[in-house]
Symmetry: D2
Subunit: 303 residues, 4 copies
Amino acid sequence: MNGFQVRTDLALEAKESIGDANESLRGVRVEEDYDEEADLRVTKVMIDTKNASKAMNKPMGTYVTVEAPRLLEPDENYHREISEKIAEQLRQIIPESSQEQSVLVVGLGNREVTADALGPQVVDNLFITRHVVKEYGKAAYGTQKIHLISSIEPGVTAKTGMEAAEIIRGVVEQTKPDVIIVIDALASRSTKRLNRTIQITNTGIQPGSGVGNHRNALTEESMGIPVIAIGVPTVVDAATIVGDAMDNLMSEDDGDSRGFFNTHCSTFSELNNMYVTSKDIDAVIKQVSFTLSEGINMALELA
Amino acid sequence: MNGFQVRTDLALEAKESIGDANESLRGVRVEEDYDEEADLRVTKVMIDTKNASKAMNKPMGTYVTVEAPRLLEPDENYHREISEKIAEQLRQIIPESSQEQSVLVVGLGNREVTADALGPQVVDNLFITRHVVKEYGKAAYGTQKIHLISSIEPGVTAKTGMEAAEIIRGVVEQTKPDVIIVIDALASRSTKRLNRTIQITNTGIQPGSGVGNHRNALTEESMGIPVIAIGVPTVVDAATIVGDAMDNLMSEDDGDSRGFFNTHCSTFSELNNMYVTSKDIDAVIKQVSFTLSEGINMALELA
Amino acid sequence: MNGFQVRTDLALEAKESIGDANESLRGVRVEEDYDEEADLRVTKVMIDTKNASKAMNKPMGTYVTVEAPRLLEPDENYHREISEKIAEQLRQIIPESSQEQSVLVVGLGNREVTADALGPQVVDNLFITRHVVKEYGKAAYGTQKIHLISSIEPGVTAKTGMEAAEIIRGVVEQTKPDVIIVIDALASRSTKRLNRTIQITNTGIQPGSGVGNHRNALTEESMGIPVIAIGVPTVVDAATIVGDAMDNLMSEDDGDSRGFFNTHCSTFSELNNMYVTSKDIDAVIKQVSFTLSEGINMALELA
Amino acid sequence: MNGFQVRTDLALEAKESIGDANESLRGVRVEEDYDEEADLRVTKVMIDTKNASKAMNKPMGTYVTVEAPRLLEPDENYHREISEKIAEQLRQIIPESSQEQSVLVVGLGNREVTADALGPQVVDNLFITRHVVKEYGKAAYGTQKIHLISSIEPGVTAKTGMEAAEIIRGVVEQTKPDVIIVIDALASRSTKRLNRTIQITNTGIQPGSGVGNHRNALTEESMGIPVIAIGVPTVVDAATIVGDAMDNLMSEDDGDSRGFFNTHCSTFSELNNMYVTSKDIDAVIKQVSFTLSEGINMALELA
């Protein structure tokens, strides 16, 4: 493996690209759980040390990956199972509290670009309660305990002239939520995890990750409250996919043609600001966003 | 005329409903200008005293109305004239400054409800500069002077759980604009001013006005900086239109059947949360939002 | 009651406006069924004679109305019940066949105008099979019997330059379906049936009915195959609502001020091409279209 | 060069991939014209023989390419020049007639997938006249000669269950246009022509070309009337881009590692149904569709 940067938003792929998935790396703990009946694999990668963080090119924290091979199949019952699994993992990662919590859900991304519309579309289907509780009290829902859910779709910098982080920081200061949940479309390293993998992490979102990169840091450090990020890889960086194909070839070739290639070929620079996505990405986003919304609704209604 | 509240967002209509348009009311000044060639009528209503404000049910300040009977006709040259007129009026009402200004444009309303989508659609076509100047300096535009334009579409309370005013206040605190321009679809009292009238005011937007009412006050008082509001009436309140029909009838009847009617008829309560709009409202919003965007772009690029 | 035309797309309202709902009218049979547990009322109006058709201003045929007072409540289980009721009624009204049928579902209306977007949005959520069966055979679904479902959204005349009927006739000739199901947003006479009533009829759709009127006849006579129409009233004609308010008033007044009113008041002509709809029409259309799609999917998958 | 199929919808690229652009190929004529002031290059490729057609993997006919390097720049005047160039080329390629013509414009593609939404978005901005002339005569436009313009967006097979060709054939039979203009997003071989090249051809559209491939042949042969196709490449096939990178490398390597690569690497199969597009594809489609609509409007209003 050469020294190229790991261009993936998935901790699971970062782990794999460093070494065999089962091989241990100091400072990184991996737990796996496979639900055979539901065909759902949950992998928890915990990055515990600064060194491990550096090696993985990912901040310290917990990364839960739910792999659902049939995420795109139109089977309602299966989707309920995935939503329940997401809810279960979310409840574990959201800081506990004996009381109601005020939760701000942020739909990052660009509604106008299909592969980047995951965040906005998830937010469309959430069960929003904050304004009702503020105006009518909890009695409006006939329950003793109800979370205050609000949401925002900050839009993209090219259209707003502002970073998503600026907008969200302003909203946080005004509305004082206890925790932020950010939804975003991610980039994976290879096509095999596209549209079937859900990553949930307590490390928030870093500048430069995601599909459109329309934000700087959305983290506990920058926001002052815990930031949970939920993402699904919907694209592969175009330069990465070509580079990886090269690598595969070169490793068999045993030569050093990669450097040679980079010198002579203009393909890489041409591929700046390009990404690879699937032709049925509209159906993907529609289906996946619905399953994610349900998972978040379940986690927050029952917590 | 009975004591019913004046249900209109247009100062011009409020003036008319109090008395003859040409009749003077203490504390209210009216200036009119008719551009015959362009068939554009500009009326400036200035409410100068608290008493006049109370009588008009509108805050003290300046209200400019541009009436463009052919606003919906597909004539590009005519639209350029309207945009120029809007730009001219905007430049007069925006507080002067010898320097660049930072302007936040807010697109109020609900993109999913056609008659209420004016604000979001205007914001779609603005020339946004703030992020570019922040990153590359004015040099990026090759000019000595360039305003920093940013924009936000706060969405509707039912979907965000927050008031538009909360979100905007947060954004203002984070990004420190010098002035806010708010775009919103308005309600007029009668159908005859629908989709052909543009109101520009320095009084911002009050709670309870507009189509969807998805905000509380967006005013200089609540935001700490000047708030210019631009609106176009796209709906008539359904109860108002029925009530006015009644009034017309009764005034000829010379009887007191209005109260009688209100007591016996369930139509009014049925009409709560209903509005009247035109069948081609999609074409209206598309055309008008484009003309408004151009007007704002002209006003801000050249100022 | 005066001789004004009955401006409603609902046979149920036409019946009421002619006389008491329980009163018999020669040539019209009415059957009612109330499911108390589900709070669903099914009324079947059968117009059997030409005279009755003329009196009702509706073609001869069967009109089933499902009234679901809680159609807008976010209760998934209740919606499943409504969808099942729709499916049940649809299966009864679709001409029987021992074999697979080829069904063309038409989503009438204008996606860009919220109150008129019901048809297009229902079509978005259908389970479409025709192309799969054509290419891979029934084996693709692992069943012995599968209907061939296709769908089309013909758009509005102002954008296509064609009547919906022209487009659909062309598609019918090319693809030879056995039956057409047309979905459309309707106009009701009063606000009380808006957004909570589903009408299913075997008479198709007549010119001049519906919200946007973007079509001429879609009937068995014009298409050569049975045409089932499913509609939900989402608007009231603005002139109708004012007229009805007048009528209510006049009937108490015992006078003849209606004619007087019409002569003196410009409200009616102002209201041409205007309609009344509810402020949350976006949420209405989203919820109702989903429930209808499910009902159609259920009816066609299991038949 | 190996025997791989030329995966491009652009005749210009097909020509280049066969040999040097300036080199002559029997049966293929190339004419170039460069407008220096406007920075617009027009290349006309005429494929005159069956052999040439086979070599180029493109049907016999005329292919005009307008290359506009600044197609994405927000300069209104420049866009007017491009629109005029498109109009000029369209007028030359549309079969001449001394009379009004009836023109059906077809917007192919998937509105829900940004890179594939070119056709639907172009159709949104056309000047449609057929229904007006049919109802009110030419007098409605106050001219002696006016083309009858209609348009349709047939949608994608996965949603309609029908081929676009079936729908269009039906519409053609019903409405008898004289000529069809089809708009579609194309695939190019490399990223360098993306979003800046407009191809106009009288050969229509072949099965398997375009972004989403949602149609079979739309040609004069299948439709019975001339079919002009206008396309802009917005994507590159993902497998093609990797394959081309390989080819570049191999040609320098002088080895036969391509076959070796194909045998050992799973990247290619992974890339099935994937495409490469640019991150700002939403802005691209919005800008380009507007320029194309204007070009078509100009060509048809003045013809």
